[in-house]
Amino acid sequence: MTGELQLLLILLVPMLGALAVLAASPLPNVREGVSFVIGILLFLLVASLAADLSWDAPPTLVLAEPIQGLQLVLTPEPLGVLFALIASLLWPITTIYAMGYMRDHHEVNQTRFFTAFAVSIGSAMGIAMAGNMLTLFVFYEILSVATYPLVTHRGSVEAKRAGRLYLGLLMATSIGFMLPAMIWTWHLTGTLTFTPGGIFGPEVSSGVLSLLLLLFVLGTGKAALMPFHRWLPAAMVAPTPVSALLHAVAVVKAGVFTVLKVAVYLFGIDTLASIAAADVLMVLAGFTILMASVIALRKDNLKARLAYSTISQLSYIVLGAMLGVAAGAVGAGMHIAMHAFGKITLFFCAGAILVTAHKSRVSELNGIGRRMPWTMAAFAVGAVSMIGAPPVAGFISKWYLLMGSLDASHWFAVGVIVVSTALNTAYFMPIVYAAFFKPEDAPAISGQDDHDHPDHGEASWPMRGALMLTATLAILVFFFPGVPLALVQQMAGL
Amino acid sequence: MSGLPGLYNYWIAVFLMMAGFYVVISQGNLVKKLVGLSLFQTSVFIFYISMGKVADGHAPILAEGVTVYSNPLPHVLILTAIVVGVATTAVGLALVVRINEAYGSVEEDEIQARDNAADKATGRSGGSGESPRT
């Protein structure tokens, strides 16, 4: 199979899968079977592409040419392959989880759900493989639109308001900032192709570069950099599998992935070090990390706490990208991968608790670890990963991020990472502690609360299986980080 | 053709035009509006006809001893424009007849009032559009 064909299939398989899901809508089992098989197929495709790839002459697939001289083109590069690998690995796992969740939770419109899900993953693949900024932008916008029905899945007033905020913020930033930045870059350089070392020549003044960098990074609303982060907690009204895959993996990672791509391949790591705006953005990212952690501390709703934790973790990646040293970019790239495993585990656990125990508040979780030992053990693994302690994935990326900060002698960044680690511990560890060591509260007295299932046990097998799998993966990558590390170092030119 | 008095027919055209324009704007009666519109168009006819006149020129018919003719082309053109004007007036009047049938009035403000009343009756705000034609 040639590389071009592989690329085409990577894009087509999820898109056609969406159609297949739509066609299979009267038969739920077939529908979900199709979703799962397509997920596996996609992962195999991406893996075989990654295995065959030679970085010197990557395959290139031209899809179309909407602007004269500017094509929609797919070209794999190390970081994109890493992103595609993670997203396509976690998709089938999430599908298993979603089957259990959606049925146990008696959700409606499941066909719409699985269809939009497949389209979203297809767009994420497009973002990962984009060979230039225009292609990335196109799939970025498709992803925004395709995830809208997922966010508003419940159709309630609250969901509708969340959807409005979600789409409004993402579109406003991308059309308002990213698009003009892109057109300006095109006007200045005549290219938008991702090129190692950047595309800006010395003739572009550093003031212009600063402005462009600000526009690009702030225009990436999906990176949830404050003050454009509000959509992320709002989008938590979505069903948990959506939050898990899209808001811990695909959507937000698409955002920080864009930031990293722009930093490494449009500006270039070396150029970045000389741009004043990079420091501004670093401070903003640091502020976001700390601020979001403090907010997370105060959130009682479990999903909201996870959402703010996501916001803060995303800014690590922005921080790493803006450091302007290779080690920082490596840390950022690794964090895209490492954060994914931990965070998806946490979301899976939150969803399993919601469906099985009908509990969504942190304060209700006392003693739940005795009823749901596997789920809460996985939760603990995810929490340790967020904190960045060994032997879980999060440690590795935090290590590289620290190295990068020290390399660049950025004491501000070092300080932020240290303080935020403490904050992470403060908002995750009490949950784990309460779940295992605090006595269970007496069931709510109120008779109106027929939601309460005092006699619940573990979550159903699809959910349990999925969350244990991701927790295991999170531990495994700690011991075998070879593949992602090699890819990221390739990207950073080390 | 120099000096203001020599251009008096252009002054007439301008006057007619402004008068017609004023009638269109100021009158609420739709028929009167059309009268104004016709006046407005007529001024342009005069403008064109004046344009074609060549000083001391004769009607453009070949005849003995005549060497200077007026330019016939604007006159021909304006024939077309006159036809257009007549057609416009005809369509306009037809519309006024239909409006009178539908509303029972040809006064702008009364029509407006009836539309607003119909809106209130159906409980809609400005411009939905279901009130059946009477």
């Binding site: 602007i67 | 519309l95 239909r98």
Partner: protein, 491 residues
């Protein structure tokens, strides 16, 4: 082959009386359908030919140019002609069911006659090479469109049509005065001769006055802000078929007339540099974009909402012309094409909704996603194109327009243009929310999806929206070629 240039106009023109004579609805529809498709085929062949061999000149009745009337088709004319005929061909397919429901049975034949006359007039404007002839065709199409609009179901269609008649006639008379003044100074009505002779006399008050009259007159026809007041009512109350056809073609042809007169006959040097029209157009275009979009946000009647959105979209085109650069004019011409695609699709889809449900306000639109899934999906896709979300045609237009403004360092303008897009997002999304997240009204009867004869044209246009968002060799290629011809290589 040469005669195609004239047949493309004559066939619809002569089919109109045939419709009246037949006086039965089905044969009249068939006649119109055949005429429209014939013109479409002819337009395709003409465009292929002129883009390969250069402008095609055709002397009517064998009278050579300065004496007789000349039809002259160049790439710009052929391009707009193609848009007009293509939309007409699709609208005629759509028309059958819609017209049978909306128009009283005994008037259907005459309705088609009016529609054909509008079509013939618009096609005529794009092919003629004679300034006065352009005025005549303009009036043919305008008069017929007053009649067609007045056949709307609501009685307010009558007053809307009357209002349009008054403003349209004033506009046409202004154009007539302008043409007269040009004739006074140059002694010719042929567009090429005019363009050749005007520079010698351009420094005179008469030419400047003529220029002003022409611009304002065309501005009225174009619904250029603030001369747009006739448009929302006319579009809102006209029969669905007429709205779709006019929205997709009439203002486009007016843009064509503006390009022809301002850029070709008067020339860039005179109109955009000696006269301050460039700044005026940019300013009015921006006002149009912002006010049109803003008013659209608050509309509840969907046809009216889209009508105001048209005012905004015309602002984009005018803004592009006002930039006076190759990129700007390319964007304007490209948007003429793309906007015809999106507004055609949207208004036709609304027509299909009206056919099934009756009226199209936001209230009736609640729950439409379940009631008419295909039609609603088409509206959503058309709406995305209106916003300018990639990969739709609207995105490409916006790209070139913003590029054009950035080339000249007009930062604020670029930002406002994009802000207009976000306003479009708001009004389109109101529609989406109503369609998918509100239950259908309690008294809503179960309805079947719109008939295939409506869905096919709608989805053809939707598919075109996406196709021309991805593959722009034709649309951008022709537009930039025309822009180079009009503005000159330097830009």
């Amino acid at each position: 082959m040469d005669h195609l240039a004239v047949l493309v106009v004559i066939v619809p023109l002569m089919s109109a009386p045939v419709c009246v004579l037949l006086d039965r609805s089905r044969p009249a529809w068939l006649t119109s359908l055949v005429a429209a498709w014939f013109s479409f085929g002819a337009a395709v062949m003409l465009l292929l030919r002129v883009s390969a061999e250069g402008p095609l000149r055709y002397s009517l009745g064998g009278w050579e140019a300065p004496w007789g009337i000349e039809f002259r088709i160049d790439v710009l004319g052929g391009y707009v002609l193609l848009i007009v005929t293509a939309v007409a061909a699709l609208v005629m397919v759509f028309a059958r069911h819609s017209v049978e429901q909306e128009i009283p049975h005994d008037r259907i034949a005459r309705f088609y006659a009016a529609l054909l006359l509008v079509f013939a007039g618009l096609a005529g404007i794009t092919v003629t090479g004679d300034a006065f002839n352009l005025f005549v065709f303009l009036e043919i199409s305008s008069l017929a469109s007053y009649a067609a609009i007045s056949m709307g179901r609501d009685r307010r269609a009558l007053s809307a049509s009357f209002q349009y008649l008054v403003m349209g006639t004033i506009g046409a008379t202004f154009i007539l005065i302008g043409i007269g003044m040009l004739y006074m100074m140059t002694g010719t009505l042929n567009m090429i001769d005019l363009a050749a002779r005007l520079p010698e006399v351009s420094d005179s008050r008469t030419v400047r006055a003529g220029f002003a009259f022409l611009t304002v007159g065309i501005g009225l026809k174009l619904a250029l802000f603030p001369l747009h007041l006739w448009l929302p009512n006319a579009y809102a109350y006209a029969p669905s078929t007429v709205t779709a056809f006019l929205a997709a073609t009439a203002t486009k042809v007016a843009v064509y007339a503006l390009l022809r007169f301002v850029l070709e006959i008067f020339g860039v040097e005179f109109s955009l540099h000696a006269m301050p029209l460039d700044r005026i157009l940019v300013f009015l275009g921006l006002l149009g974009i912002l006010s049109g979009s803003l008013v659209a946000v608050f509309q509840r009647d969907l046809k009216r909402m889209l009508a105001y959105s048209s005012v905004a979209q015309i602002g984009y085109m005018v803004l592009g012309i006002g930039l006076a650069s190759v990129t700007g004019v390319t964007a304007a011409i490209l948007h003429v094409f793309n906007h015809a695609l999106m507004k055609g699709a949207l208004f036709l889809a609304l027509g299909a909704v009206a056919y099934r449900v009756g009226a199209v306000t936001l209230r009736e639109f609640a729950g439409m996603g379940q009631r008419l899934p295909w039609t609603t999906a088409a509206i959503v896709l058309g709406g995305l194109s209106l916003i300018g979300v990639p990969p739709t045609a609207g995105f490409v237009s916006k790209w070139y327009l913003v590029l054009g403004t950035l080339e000249q360092g007009l930062w604020l303008v670029a930002m406002l243009v994009l802000f207009g897009s976000l306003l479009a997002l708001i009004y389109v999304w109101k529609l989406v929310e109503a369609a998918y997240f509100k239950p259908p009204p309690a008294n809503a009867a179960a309805v079947a999806e719109a008939p295939l004869s409506m869905l096919v044209p709608v989805w053809t246009l939707v598919a075109a929206n996406i196709y021309f968002g991805l593959y722009t060799d034709v649309s951008v290629g022709l537009a930039s070629r025309v822009a180079h011809d009009l503005v000159g290589g330097g830009g």
